[in-house]
Structures are given as structure tokens and as C-alpha cells.
Amino acid sequence: MSDFTPDEMMTIAASRALGNSDVCFVGIGAPSAACNVARLTHAPDITLIYESGTIGTAPNVLPLSIGDGELCDTAVTTVSVPEMFRYWLMGGRITIGFLGAAQLDKFGNINTTVIGDYHHPKTRLPGGGGAPEIASSCGEIYITMKQSLRGMVEKIDFFTSFGHGDGGDHRQRLGITTKGPTLLITDLAVWKPDPATKEFTVVSLHPGVTKEQVQATCGWPVKFADTLEETPAPTESELNTLRDLKARTEAAHQGPKTNEAA
């Protein structure tokens, strides 16, 4: 099956990294799609948790926000937000946290807070939300983002969430006991941190993608693994599942027309 977009490849590659016994803290956007594709294909028993307090949720359409009613309707249980962050996130119950990034560096540090100076920002982004503690409390972190020179940068403007810091054992030196970013899935490739330096290294190129394309859309000199795999193309089942999900979602988010603008 060759007729798929880079975005679809990214989502499907991410979904494959998830298993039945995983407990995922799900963000909105690509992570939410990936987690639900996994649930609808090879990992029906995966536990999806959204920070709104919905545990073990199985939405039929992707939520627009992390607190859509659909998440609660289909959850095993829905807890308060303090409980979510205390018992479930800080309590170490989450195996995988999914994060996106406005800016990302090669050590998996993420900025979604500001472009420019924090106190006089050029662009005020939404900020971290759950990310600072997702990054430190989940067993490991998967990152998904579309590659761009603006997004994958040598030096991020703000440490919204800590990845591997300056690399090496920087996490341990800060007393963080979890693994941090162990996987980066972009629209072009799959990346894993070097075991020693923790620098993200391309281990697999998506079908038809060249090393040059990866480098051209990344702001740091890219390291490639010695044996570079090709990411298996999406199967028909994966692609249909994703597209059906997106179509259902789009229809639902337009909603019934109301008689007021908002």
C-alpha cells in the first residue's frame, strides 16, 4: 500500500510502538490518533488516560480537547484532576507519556512555552500543561512531531519539559528515575536515543524518505544508525482504521449548527 501521507505514516509508526499492557498518558493531536489506532488494531487492551481524569477510555471519535464528554462516557473510571496528577501520574502508574513539541532539541528537550525571551516573548505559546511532570513521571516518553527547521533546533528557547538535558546521565544527576524520551517519530523517520550520549539517532526511514530529506528539515547535524531500517509502510488495515477515525472525528467536530456564533 503506497498511497499514504507522511502524517499518516507518522501516526501509524507511533501506534506500532504501543502494546496491550501499556498505560498511556495521551496528549491531543497526533498522540491521540496514534494511541487510538493502536487500540483499534493490535492493542485492544491498551489503557489510555487523558489528563482530564478519564482512565481506560475508548473514544469512538478523537476528542478535540482532552476533556470531551466522549472520553468520560467510554472510560473505566473518571477521577478528579488532582487525583489524576497525584495517584496516577506522580504515583508512577503510567508506562508511556506521549508529547508533542513546538521546539525540540536532539536530546529530547521540549519547548511549548515561548519563542524568544520568557518575560518578553516573541510568541507566547500555550505552555506546558501536564508536560513537565509527564516528562519526569512516566516510565518513558514518546515524542511525535513533523520535522521542520523551525521545530527541530540546536537550542530550544525554553525548557518546558526535560528530556535528556545535555545528554548522558543528566536525568539521573537531577534525581529523575524514569527513562525519559526513548522514541521520536516524525513524518520522515523513527529516531531513538544513543545509549550513551542520549542524542536522538535515526534508526528507520519511512518508505521513500532519504537521509538528505531528514537532514534538510532538522536544525542539527543528524546522526544515522549504522544499519538503517525502512519503516514498514502502513497496512491497509492500519490506514483504513486511521482514516475512518479521522473521518468520524471531523464530522463530529463540526457539530450540529447552533444559532449563535459561540
Partner: protein, 284 residues
Amino acid sequence: MAAFMSLRDAVAQNLNDGDTAAFEGFTHLIPHAAAHEAIRQGFRDLTLIRMTPDLVYDQMIGMGMARKLVFSYVGNPGVGLLRRARDAIENGWPNRPEVEEHSHSGMANAYEAGAAGLPCAIFRGYKGAGLANVNPNIKSITCPFTGEELAAIPSVRPDVSFVHAQKADKKGNVLVEGIIGIQKEAVLAAKRAVVTVEEVVDDLDAHPNLCVLPTWTIDAISVVPGGAHPSYTHGYYMRDNAAYLEWDRIAADRDTFLAWMKENVLDVGPEVYESRIEKLRKVS
């Protein structure tokens, strides 16, 4: 005991210029009607606390009511940036509010500690995070048993909290269900609490373990059907996702924003919400 009154009176009696105010609702049950009433009454110099400021605070910020913002995510969830908040923070229009930024975990713990009457929240957080360098209210304490350094932030203790909920019984006991968020903590952490509800019933008839706020924890209750719109009330009407998408366009331009606010907030009253949710009601 909670007193039932009009939304106009509930806001006038419980909010003051200069107050620290929380209008809470974690995506679900956002008290839009109460916030719009506060906008109509023209309060100023507010310290606005909210985990996810989204549309309701974008509007209050754009109308120049905020002296300070305390938050953990200043975005339009699932849509993108908050353009009025950005304009205020980046360009000082209409004023430049002070910013105290936390993580969700920080804010959730701070509300929890506020409800518990504690001066500060202690938790494992902000490790390696840049917020710890720019927010002087993020400090640390050392566990006296293990030596581990834990984050400490001040608890949230608003002068007044506004929340929306499904229903009250005639005595003023309030039921919150679905994504309960931090509704209970926002009420219990505050000096005064105002609740808007979809309806009043004889008996809540609720399972004993549901989230019920006893009447004596609430100061005022106003019945405002649809009062969470474009947020939603679980069991009553759906989230108006289209309105959230549309807000991105409205808030992008100052004049469009002001015109929208005049037409949809300043020139109307709490009775409009019921009509806004007509098409969003659940068919049961």
C-alpha cells in the same frame, strides 16, 4: 447555606475589583455565563486563576479585566493559541497582565492544598523544567526521611470561585458529575463560592460516592440553563467544538473581537445560553 439568586446578584455580591478569582472547569463545565456576567459588570484588576484559561479568560483578558494571570496552559485546547491572551502578554493590549505560570500538576496540587487549608503544596515536580527558573513561587523542600528534594508552591486560595454544575437540590446541595476536574477543590479552596447549575431538583438522588458539594460550602447558586456553553454539561448538552474552532477567527482581530463581545456578551443576558445549546442537547 447556599442562597438561590439571579446570576446578576450572585456575581455582584461575590466579586469585587482587585479580587483573586477562579472560574474553573477542566474543559467540562466551564462557567461561561458567570464569566460573561462578570464582564458585563466591568470588574477590574482581577487576579485570574485557571488551569486552562481558554476562551473564557481570553475574553476577560481581552476586555482588560486581568491584572495578573495564574495558569498552567494558556491555549484553546485542540485548536491552538489564545489570541487575546497573546496580544496582552506580547503587546500589552489592552494591558499587560503579570504572569504566574505553573504546570497542570502544580496547579492541581495547589488547588488540592488550598482545599485542605494548607499554605503550600508539596509534590514531585518541575524537575529540570524551565518554569522553576522564571517563577519565584516555585521553591523546594527536602523530605526529612529520604533527603529527596520536592517541589513546593503556594496553595491556591481564591477570594471567590465560580463553577458550573449539573444540578442543585432545593436545599442547595450541588451535584457535579462526568469530568469533575477540580470543581470541588475550586469551591473548597475559596473564601466564597458561586455555582451556576442547569436545574434545581427536589432530590439529587445521587449515589453516595458521587461528587456532591454540601449547601453550606456554597454562597450563591444561580440557575442558568446552558451556562457552560460553548463548554458542555455532561448529560445535558455536548461541547460546541465548532464554536471553539470559530473562536480562533474571532479572537485573531481586535475589532472583530470587540464587536463579537458587544453583540454576544455585553448586549445580552444570562437567558441567552439556553437558546445556544438547543441544537447540542443530547437525545436520550
